[in-house]
Amino acid sequence: MARLVELLLLLVILTNFIVLGTTRLSTCIRAVALQGFLLGVLPLALYPRGELHTWGLALGTVAVKAVILPRFLRWAIREAAVRREVEPRVGYALSLLLGVAAVAVAFAISGRLPLPEGARAMLVPAALATVILGLFVLITRSKALVQVVGYLMLENGVYLFGLTHVEEVPFLVEAGVLLDVFVGVFIMGIVVFHINREFDSLDSTRLSELVDR
């Protein structure tokens, strides 16, 4: 099972790089949907006894992060007639290079931390890498919809770290966290939709009317 966990975590990190490297908005959304699916499978691989709690977590995560939210984001693209390119502030090649550096930093930090033992220890570097890359996407991509993808990556990274404590945190609480993320992305999507209708663009750099005068 440890091998499977390692493989899944490797794939999670790879999906981060797809978001960094792609030119197309729809690929970004597909990548983050795939990441959501991997995150849903992870608890089953980590805790193979397969209690009801683990299954509930897996199903809830897959439903929200791999199915509902990506569908909703695709709906927003279609309805608001968003241009399909990512239009980054930092070039794709440089993004990928910085991404590699970020992963290296995440592993270096995790190596120095006093970690919980066992297979769960591998979660920490993957989690930190995903958090850092999510923040990176939020900062370097000016299109509002891609920023939502960045936020989802960040949230996925936090979730990965949370998996080290899955047995201690009860299901009700995890469901609450999942619900909050769901509603958060939902409201963001609605705002993105209105931004695009109002500004004819999803570029958040156009949002610059409110300043101190």
């Binding site: 919980p116 509002a144 936020y151 960040l154 609450g176 966290v177 509603v183 705002v191 409110l210 005068r213």
Partner: protein, 467 residues
């Protein structure tokens, strides 16, 4: 049961309000929900209910103070909303009243949670409930404000969740996971390095929600674009909830003996907030952005009080109550002026008078409650030997007083509307702010003994004492 009711009643009222298509029914749900909640809070203060949900929900001194503050402020804002909805129909329609009530449910959850993830869920829910309220006009400016608010707050709160998980790692099996009482009781068994990392993430995450500089950048935009009553709710109630979250994190850190690590952090955020607020208040022209920077200032004072400890903790908790009421008063009064157009086709003598009262209250002048609480915080700085902190804070407060006075007096004595007759100010629109002004005045001259006891207990939990 009461504890669950405090969360369930506003949540049910929100659902009830959403189900009705007629505006009067929605208003009725709002008032009923607010009054029932207020009644339950009073009952909870009298009966001191035990913990519920296996210790996850409990009512301690600090939580009950935040709960009562939010409930009173919400009742006032609910009454104001009745008058507001007659003047302006927000585009949100049905959702407007429901979002207000969902906010109350989420804020109650924050005040009652003794489980860190539950606390996080409540705080995130308050953020999300407020977002549609800022965005009620659906124009460019409110879109920009709500986008900044959503992105900055969501990222911050995600980092706070990471902080909560760090805390769970620090705990590593000592007591019930992430339950406040056990974290405090087992303080010495927590892993100090993970705990320090956790505190930094929690402070950054929850501090952003409070609006501590330099994490305050969403605040002027959101407060500037939101309707007055929503601004009052955010500056009064939302910040109090975020302060409670920071205070809970402080409580755990102090119990674990990392006070020397966290106090300088809190002091630095506090002083920086005062400095940034002073810098941006000078020359600020927009009334609501002015109030937003004033809110940054007061959050800075709260952080200072927490960081100083001793009588500072007492002052911080008292100041949280005062700040909530004063900000409610100011935003509602400012909202009244803006409802009629700031340039003015009508005169609004009562609201202008309230704004003047609010000016003296917000700058900590006697005999208002803010004077006592600011005095306690600054006094703690002098007593603790932090002379340069006290000196800097005093100088900045003086500068802030001048900046606020110049601008607010300018609004009150602004260009006369000429021949226009004095507008009849609807009692709904002025009764609430008047009640808040009286409350702040009362807190300055007389503190009920139940409140004094609760304040002492809350300060004790935060490593301080009554002065």
């Amino acid at each position: 049961m009461i504890l669950l009711g405090l969360v369930a009643v506003p949540a049910l009222a929100a659902a009830g309000a959403y189900a009705h298509r007629e505006a009067p029914w929605r208003t009725a749900w709002l008032i009923t929900g607010a009054l029932l909640h207020l009644g339950l809070v009073a009952f909870a203060w009298a009966s001191r209910p035990g913990p519920a949900l296996g210790g996850w929900l409990a009512l301690d001194a600090l939580g009950s103070i935040v709960l009562a503050t939010v409930s009173v402020l919400f009742a006032v804002i609910a009454s104001y909303t009745v008058g507001y909805l007659r003047w302006e129909q927000p585009r949100g329609g049905r959702a407007f009243v429901s979002c207000l009530l969902v906010f109350l449910a989420a804020a109650s959850l924050v005040a009652l949670s003794h489980h860190f993830v539950l606390l996080w869920i409540g705080l995130e829910a308050t953020t999300l409930a407020v977002a549609p309220l800022i965005f009620h006009r659906h124009d460019r400016r409110s879109l920009e404000a709500v986008w900044k608010y959503l992105v900055i707050s969501s990222v911050a709160i995600a980092l706070a969740l990471l902080g909560v998980f760090f805390l769970a790692t620090a705990q590593a099996g000592a007591g019930r996971p992430l339950v406040l009482e056990d974290l405090v009781a087992q303080g010495t068994r927590l892993h100090p390095d993970w705990l320090k990392a956790a505190f930094i993430f929690l402070l950054v995450g929850f501090g952003t929600k409070m609006g501590l500089a330099p994490l305050h950048t969403w605040k002027p935009d959101a407060y500037g674009e939101a309707p007055g009553l929503v601004g009052g709710l955010m500056a009064g109630a939302l910040t109090s909830c975020a302060f409670l979250a920071v205070a809970r994190s402080t409580q755990v850190a102090l119990a674990a003996g990392v006070g020397p690590f966290i106090r300088p952090l809190l002091l630095a955020f506090g002083l920086l907030s005062l400095g940034v607020a002073a810098a941006f208040l000078v020359g600020q022209t927009d009334l609501r952005r002015l109030l937003a920077y004033s809110s940054v200032e007061h959050m800075g004072l709260l952080a200072l009080g927490l960081g100083l400890g001793a009588a500072g903790s007492y002052g911080a908790v008292l100041h949280m109550i005062n700040n909530a009421f004063v900000k409610g008063l100011l935003f509602l009064a400012a909202g009244n002026l803006l409802l009629r157009g700031a340039a003015g086709t009508h005169r609004t003598p009562v609201s202008a008078g309230l704004l003047l009262v609010g000016l003296f209250a917000v700058t900590g002048s006697p005999p208002f409650g803010t004077f006592l609480s600011e005095f306690a915080i600054l006094g703690a700085a002098f007593q603790g030997g932090h002379y340069w902190i006290a000196g800097t804070a005093l100088a900045l407060l003086a500068l802030i007083f001048v900046a606020l006075a110049v601008r607010i007096l300018g609004v009150i004595h602004g260009p006369s509307p000429g021949a226009a007759e004095a507008a009849r100010e609807s009692p709904w629109l002025v009764a609430g702010p008047i009640a808040l002004a009286l409350a702040v005045l009362l807190l300055g001259v007389y503190l009920p003994s139940a409140l004094v006891d609760a304040l002492g207990a809350a300060a004790g939990a935060l490593g301080g004492r009554a002065p």
